[in-house]
């Protein structure tokens, strides 16, 4: 049945909860642990939600210039590959698994990590590096992706993201 409406239906694009914010803590440097954070950050930004990412511990690899384009995926300890675990330890298996995963990601039109970060920043996302991790790894701002806004303490991040929804990855 067709209903004819006199008032047009207009999507509610601007009803963004003004207090909604998303904070994502990226603590892992594996390729398959980087993407969930990046995909979710991108999705949140596309919905007009202010989004802050905090890179800490192994998550530093995602914003370290030397490693950001060389994240790896390993079958070891990952039963979801449904392959015998012993295979994962053979020489070359991590390189091969990484290559395969990168190909699958590219096939669905999703960018590599550095380009994805660039997109997130372009969409208004904020990148922060963890002070303790930087000190432990003896890294400074020059070692990090140039769009990282600063090296800040965990306290600073918690304060900055007051009231935010939080994801720990």
């Amino acid at each position: 049945m067709t209903t004819v409406l006199t008032d047009p239906i207009v999507p509610n694009f601007d009803v963004v909860d003004p207090d909604r914010k998303l904070a994502i803590i990226c603590s892992k440097g594996n390729l398959d642990m980087a993407y969930p954070a990046l995909v979710l950050a991108n999705a949140a930004l596309g919905e007009g939600i202010p989004t802050h990412l905090f890179f800490t511990f192994w998550g530093f690899d995602i914003i370290n210039r030397k490693t950001m384009d060389h994240l790896k995926f390993t079958m070891l300890g990952n039963t979801a590959t449904h392959m015998p675990q012993g295979l994962g330890g053979l020489p070359g298996m991590t390189a091969m698994s990484t290559h395969q995963l990168k190909k699958s990601i590219a096939d669905v039109g999703v960018p590599e990590v550095p380009e994805f970060l660039e997109q997130i920043v372009g969409a208004g996302g904020h990148l922060w590096a963890c002070r303790m991790s930087a000190d432990m790894m003896q890294l400074n701002e020059d070692d990090l992706y140039e769009e990282v806004e600063g090296i800040i303490s965990a306290t600073d991040f918690i304060e900055m993201t007051a009231g935010a929804q939080l994801l720990f990855i």
Binding site: T3, V4, I9, P11, P111, G122
Partner: protein, 104 residues
């Protein structure tokens, strides 16, 4: 399926207001749809809209932020300036296309 009248155009829309049939769309209607969501179209908007229409014709999908950037040459920052806050959804609405399905 509701039918609505927008500045003299009678069109079928879904429950959110997106056009059901992209063929119902026209330049006139785009300006009306844009005005509904507070956007006044200029040349830069039109470039993006034309790309979205062409890309939908070719792929059957409404472009995402990523697609706009790689295939359309519109950087995310610029896209957010033109269609603030929810650029991909707003563009689809104004271009008479379905809501984008892609995640990235």
């Amino acid at each position: 399926m509701p039918t609505t009248t927008l500045a003299g155009h009678t069109v079928d829309v879904n429950e959110e207001g997106f056009l059901i049939d992209p063929a119902d769309w026209s330049d006139d209607l785009a300006a009306v749809l844009a005005a509904q969501i507070g956007i006044t179209l200029d040349d830069a908007h039109w470039d993006v809209i034309r790309f979205a229409r062409k890309d939908f014709e070719a792929t059957g999908e409404s472009p995402t932020i990523r697609r706009l950037s790689t295939a359309g040459g519109i950087p995310p920052k610029r896209f957010f300036e033109l269609f603030p806050q929810k650029p991909a959804k707003k563009l689809a609405y104004v271009a008479g296309l379905p809501k984008p399905r892609g995640c990235v």
